[in-house]
Amino acid sequence: MAHPMMDGIWFDKYKADDAEKAHQEKRAQDLGGLVVQASSPSSQTE
């Protein structure tokens, strides 16, 4: 479980948890389209 001090840290809440997902999005954005949720994103990037 996250440290209690992280509770109520609203400004940290909406960082995408998954850095991989952020990367996906960057890629999707670079390709000019919308993000498509891949079932196994890591397999697509490396």
Partner: protein, 225 residues
């Protein structure tokens, strides 16, 4: 009674709560939001502005008596009246509780959900889904609170109602389509009542509730960013 100028950009939901509070209290506020009086990113970065408001943030209030205040909640408190602030320490503290709730529980979720649909923030599916859940949770809490009450604190409108309603405004206008908002009957009733008060209408105009949930617009985002 407070009187002065409010510097902001047009349609700033943080300014709305101040302006609505002023409608209730009768505070005389002149809005400075269009060039040449105010241009966002220029006026608020000018030495003259920064000498009065060192952080360069808007909304910013300059009283006719020279008082300078920033932070929207502080300004709303200043231009309000004692009914809006809460008549005793407990009411005032409860008002602050809801004002903080609006800022820390509703706004982050509302902006993360709505801003991408307005094309002013990148879309992130995980964040949008999380925001939807958080909005549901917040609406559920409010719905329970409003089960037996007309207003959030005491028996009359306070800054609690005004702040929370203004933080929900983007949601109700853009994404809370009928099906999504249906379970929250008490909140819907309360919100509709509030935005239809003459004091709110004078600031917000006619508020059209969302008919169909807005979606991320990649094209608009590309144009704006």
């Amino acid at each position: 009674m407070a009187a002065g100028k409010l510097y902001t950009y047009p349609d700033n939901f943080r300014a709305f709560k101040i302006l609505i509070a002023a409608q209730y209290s009768g505070a005389k506020i002149s809005l400075v939001q269009d060039p040449p009086g105010f241009k966002f990113g220029e006026t608020n970065k000018s030495p003259e502005f920064l000498s009065k408001f060192p952080l360069g943030k808007v909304p910013a209030f300059e009283g006719n008596d020279g008082v300078c205040l920033s932070e929207s909640n502080a300004i709303a408190n200043y231009v309000a009246n004692s009914q809006l602030r809460g008549e005793d320490v407990l009411s005032q503290s409860q008002v602050q509780m809801f004002v903080n709730f609006a800022d820390s529980e509703i706004l982050p979720a509302a902006c993360n959900w709505v801003f991408p649909t307005l094309g002013i923030m990148q879309y992130n599916k995980a964040n949008t889904e999380r925001a939807k859940e958080d909005v549901k949770k917040a609406l559920g809490f409010l719905n329970d609170t409003l089960k037996t009450k007309t207003f959030l604190v005491g028996e009359r409108v306070t800054l609690a109602d005004i702040s929370v309603a203004c933080s929900l405004l983007l949601l109700y206008k853009n994404v809370l389509e009928p099906q999504f908002r249906a379970p929250f009957t008490n909140v819907n009733r309360w919100f509709t009542t509030l935005v239809n008060q003459p004091q709110a209408k004078a600031v917000l105009g006619e508020v059209q509730l969302c008919v169909k949930m807005a979606q991320f617009d990649a094209k608009k985002f590309a144009e704006l960013s």
